[in-house]
Symmetry: C2
Subunit: 191 residues, 2 copies
Amino acid sequence: MEILDVEKLTDQKWLNLFAATYRHHGKNGRWVYASRKQATQPHQGTADAVVIVPILKVPPEEPRLVILREFRVPVASYLYGFPAGLLEGGESIEEAVSRELLEETGLEVTAYKTISPPLFSSAGLTDESVVVVFVDARPVPGAKPKLDSSEEIEVVLLTWKQVDELCRCKELFDSRAWMGLYLYAQLGRLE
Amino acid sequence: MEILDVEKLTDQKWLNLFAATYRHHGKNGRWVYASRKQATQPHQGTADAVVIVPILKVPPEEPRLVILREFRVPVASYLYGFPAGLLEGGESIEEAVSRELLEETGLEVTAYKTISPPLFSSAGLTDESVVVVFVDARPVPGAKPKLDSSEEIEVVLLTWKQVDELCRCKELFDSRAWMGLYLYAQLGRLE
């Protein structure tokens, strides 16, 4: 399969539609997708955003998974998702993780445990990609979440038992968040 | 936070941009997102698509995770993703899973193990939601994948050791696929 041409269909600030013309088995097709990019460059191996899976460790307390309950405008509802945010110009993955985690939760990273490759959110619909970063975290004395005016966020701390219960619930979730809850539920521990 | 109005910005067949006007702390804001819906109805508790996490069990062979390597037009590249597809009118989750798994891999479901609630692919960018379904599967004698003209797919079967290796690779992945690989890598077995 081969991409012949990409046309930008809209002129919005944060998100646009693009139409790709592709050739496959001698026939041309058209595929419309959404992108945060302003031009039609191909994937550069970098991610648009970080998604953080933080485990709060304050011994001797039991470890807790940190998740947000957040109003999301496209869904017009509250849903559970991990702390996340767009990479700002020139930031490393670790810098974006530290900044977003502190801003959204008041926590700081004590260990970067796993950093995924760039993962595509839904590759039939968008070229958006995120890096999922598993970290241990601790509170920063005196730090309070510093939210954008467009954010309405509650920080939720979950013991392993609460993780196991939440992922069986008929709540609304971000897909990465539910997969993370399910991972720890299956694993039988937060680590 | 409250949604005051939603405007459809484009008129494409499969995917459109919408602009929501929201009110938060006494101020109005505007949020542009992508949707597969044609109208501006709110989330109905149903999903747009299924994502299938199949484990092939043909005793006495060791179980294998089934994953696809697939060209995705928005990314202009091949990436690893689980079998997946849009729900067709009136289908149940189980019907969509059976149909998509057979079409894309030639396998049939022998057990539905876990069915997630609707999960949002990237709730800042789109209202698209998927249900992730963990199944056991077996080959259907004589069945071959039946692909759409827009699909270019290779079916890949992975032992646990290969799952563990693949999720450490700098390959391109769908986010649900990498989270699934990482789940089984951490778990230490395919089950």
